[in-house]
């Protein structure tokens, strides 16, 4: 991608199950309902400002940032789930808010690079047009 400021985004037409996403990142489900929707793509970022620009509905967010704003951002942007990478402890208030806002959340011990790389392998390359993802 030509815009190095942007959050990394990958998506594919068919989508993947949350179970496949969890397995790819060796994740532990902190909260996940049985009827979770399909994941349409991936956005990897620590800046929620970037997520609000780059993410699309149904994307899973992979992030090293752990706080309640991650959950609120995911809910506002209609994201499918959040993967907290880097083995960071996820506080109870974050999981409680995720449950309340119905945002599936996973914890992974993988680095952000490793987790994003594994999801890239799962989803494949996304649209290559520079700036295309910035369109609403």
């Amino acid at each position: 991608m030509s815009d190095i400021r942007g959050a990394g985004v990958r998506e594919q037409a068919g989508g993947q199950s949350l179970a496949a996403v969890r397995a790819a990142v060796n994740g532990v489900a902190l909260w996940c309902p049985d009827d979770a929707p399909e994941v349409t793509g991936v956005v990897a970022a620590d800046l929620m400002s970037d997520v609000l620009v780059d993410a699309r509905p149904g994307h899973v967010l992979v992030t090293g940032l752990v706080n309640v704003q991650v959950i609120r951002t995911a809910a506002i942007a209609d994201l499918a789930a959040v993967v907290f990478a880097r083995g960071k402890a996820v506080p109870a208030d974050v999981v409680d808010l995720a449950r309340q806002m119905k945002v599936p959340v996973f914890a992974s011990d993988e680095s952000l690079f490793e987790a994003a790389g594994r999801l890239y392998a799962l989803f494949g390359p996304g649209p290559a047009e520079p700036g295309a993802r910035r369109q609403v």
Partner: protein, 142 residues
């Protein structure tokens, strides 16, 4: 005011990071209950959330008023805060006056106002330094 108009106000407290985003979440839920299309709701919710985070980060207090008519969804975000000295500069992607604490929360990348403009059909900004800022954000329903 016509019968078809819905109006509701949401308070926003400055520096209350625990509850930051609740007003926008309330706006999103309200629009869902009204049965508006998901893509429209998402655009309104993102614009409202960006505006709410700006108020929480910079202002002492503020309020967002949601007005829904058959033609438009309009949110007026009005705050008592420092104001914006140069609105043109604030509209530039990447320009930010955020503190390290704001960035630790994942915000303050200088994308807020540009992203509000991107997600709305019309954005009007008025601001007085030392007094506060008002955003009028409009998204057309059809």
């Amino acid at each position: 005011m016509s019968d078809a108009e819905f109006v509701h106000a949401y308070d926003v407290a400055g520096a209350d990071f625990t509850n930051a985003g609740r007003a926008s979440t309330g706006i999103k839920e309200t629009l869902k209950h009204m049965g508006l299309p998901s893509p429209l709701i998402r655009r309104v919710a993102i614009a409202a959330y960006e505006a709410e985070m700006n108020m929480v980060m910079y202002a002492r207090r503020g309020a967002m008023t949601l007005r829904v008519t058959p033609a438009d969804v309009v949110i007026v975000a009005r705050d008592e805060g420092p104001g914006i000295p140069d609105i043109g500069l604030a509209m530039r992607e990447g320009y930010s006056t955020a503190t390290p604490e704001m960035r630790e929360l994942g915000f303050g990348a200088g994308m807020g106002l540009p992203n509000i403009k991107r997600n709305t059909d019309d954005l009007a900004i008025s601001s007085e330094v030392g007094r506060g800022t008002t955003l009028v954000m409009t998204v057309h329903v059809s």
